[in-house]
């Protein structure tokens, strides 16, 4: 099971990154055309488009359910209180 999860994570990250690079690199000067391998049909054609449609909050919950997130950790609260705000504009 852990090997399967490892493989799932490695493959999904690889193809999601490739897709992201294609989107963001388009028309940026100085970047190259990414290498276009023919492998990973399922990941490129099915997984990536599906993943992109799912909202982040749902994805986060799914990662928790699949126990992909870390256990035994208590992140410090990211709630410093009300941030200071500039004087209200007239």
């Amino acid at each position: 099971m852990s090997e399967l999860k490892r493989r799932l994570r490695e493959r999904s990250e690889h193809y999601l990154l490739q897709d992201s690079m294609r989107r963001l690199g388009k028309d940026v000067p100085g970047t190259f055309k990414p290498y276009d391998g023919k492998d990973g049909w399922f990941w490129r054609r099915v997984f990536v488009p599906l993943y992109r449609r799912v909202p982040w909050t749902v994805k986060r919950r799914a990662m928790d359910t699949l126990q992909m997130t870390a256990k035994g950790w208590q992140p410090p609260p990211r709630k410093p209180g009300e941030p200071w705000k500039p004087p209200r504009r007239q």
Partner: protein
């Protein structure tokens, strides 16, 4: 009988664990095993010695084996641990068994090997071990052309430094820009420009298909043709050396590294792990990640040592400030950029700004480009990328800390900053970026 601690691994995490545990509990009998003949040097400095920015390899050593022995450690140099038996509480090295009460696994990482024909040919070099680097450095004197394979941070450093030394460098990676798994394309642009200016030939979007040669590599076959070379420097991904731990029944996570809790405890009692062999959660997503920096390894070793010594210390999820010199540029950031955020599907807004590192009129002032990523609803900071000359590192460190504490674009837009012409401009580039971001959000809301 004193309690016995065995530490496996002599890198940043291993030496930190061993020395700090001993300092906190002088009664502890600490034995450190390392397969290498050297200890306490900075492997991160190796590319800069090759590039002749640093005079010699000896400067990279921070301490000596004798010094550790003087501090009371039992140092087992060039001694590979081949087995861990957690039921009996022993490790095996050189066919003898050593007992322990507590164990720290700090076995680090190895380079990913290219999965193409010819990858066992002599002439493929991996930057890690200082003695191998010393030998390679002598060979470099007789070389004219090298291929750097892998657009990772070490790849960028090696390409830039070897070009600086006067070698003809082909820099090859499948990704469409340098550091494409980390860096955004707009930040990569000046890196490309700077490397090209140094004489590096960039061959991105190019797949390595084979290494060619009979007794030694003489060329690299790529999707774009053959590249002749005298050597190849392979700079792919770091792979955690977790096999020994996994074979002993210690749990390994989704990254292939050892799972630890915030006290650096593994899944087995009285066994800790730290450094590049462990995975720790990212502060934003809580997804485990691995392959961080030397400062992370040292800090994790410190946390392990405190807990081994009976004190209570926890390690926080990481926000990963990073920075490096790429050609003549400094780049840096923390957490995620747009490339990773888009890949993960994390919603974000961007705030960009450009400022100067000193007063505009003061000699040596450089432009500092800041890009901040924030959550659209709360405006909390979730990532940044910075490029410029001086001050990139300090800004990346500050932003990572600010994000960890939940700072928002509003906080940063109105942050205080030092104005002193030789060291700081009137307007802080981070504040400029945050103010631009807020203005753009206001415009969008009004539209």
């Amino acid at each position: 009988m004193p309690e016995r601690l065995i530490v496996i691994g002599g890198g940043g995490a291993g030496t930190a664990t061993a020395t700090i545990a001993k300092r906190l509990n002088p009664d502890l009998k600490v034995t450190l095993f390392t397969e290498f003949p050297d200890i306490a040097y900075s492997p991160c400095g190796i590319p800069f010695v090759h590039g002749r920015e640093i005079d010699n390899f000896e400067s990279l050593f921070l301490s000596t084996v004798e010094r550790y022995v003087e501090d009371g450690l039992d140092m087992r140099m060039e001694t590979t641990v081949t087995d861990i038996d957690l039921d009996r509480g022993t490790v095996t090295a050189r066919n003898t068994h050593e007992g322990f009460d507590k164990l720290a696994i700090c076995t680090g990482w190895v380079w990913e090997k290219p999965d193409v024909p010819g990858s066992n040919l002599p002439g493929l070099h991996y930057v890690k071990d200082i003695r191998a680097a010393m030998e390679f450095d002598k060979q470099l004197d007789d070389m004219k052309r090298v291929v750097v394979f892998g657009g990772t941070p070490i790849g960028v450093e090696m390409a830039g430094n070897l070009a600086h030394r006067g070698l003809q460098v082909d820099f090859v990676d499948e990704g469409p820009w340098a550091l494409s798994e980390l860096l955004d394309p707009d930040v990569a642009e000046p890196v490309h420009e700077s490397l090209t200016k140094r004489g590096v030939t960039l061959r991105f979007g190019t797949k390595v298909e084979a290494f060619l040669g009979d007794e030694r590599v003489r060329a690299v076959a790529t999707s774009e043709g053959e590249l002749e070379c005298d050597a190849v420097i392979v700079c792919l991904h770091k792979v955690p050396s977790a096999q020994l731990a996994e074979a002993a029944g210690v749990k390994v996570g989704t990254t292939g590294a050892i799972m630890v809790d915030e006290r650096m405890r593994t899944s087995k009692p009285n066994v800790w792990a730290a450094g590049d062999v462990v995975e720790v959660p990212h502060g934003l997503s809580m997804l485990p990640i691995r392959g961080l920096t030397g400062s992370h390894a040292y800090a994790q070793g410190r946390v392990a040592a405190f807990n081994i010594a009976g004190q209570d210390l926890t390690y926080d999820p990481v926000w990963i400030p990073w920075g490096m010199v790429a050609g003549d540029y400094t780049i840096g950031g923390f957490s995620i950029g747009e490339t990773l955020a888009t890949a993960m599907g994390v919603p974000y807004v961007v705030a960009k700004g450009v400022g100067v590192s000193r007063a505009r009129y003061y000699p040596g002032a450089t432009r500092t480009h800041v890009k901040l990523l924030a959550e659209p609803d709360t405006r909390k900071l979730i990532g940044a990328q910075i490029h410029g000359g001086e001050g990139v590192k300090e800004r990346a460190d500050f932003l990572a800390f600010a994000a960890k504490r939940g700072a928002t674009l509003d906080d940063l837009a109105w942050m205080e900053n030092i104005y002193s012409p030789p060291i700081g401009a009137l307007f802080e580039p981070i504040a400029i970026a945050a103010q631009n971001g807020l203005a753009s959000l206001r415009e969008k809301a009004a539209a």
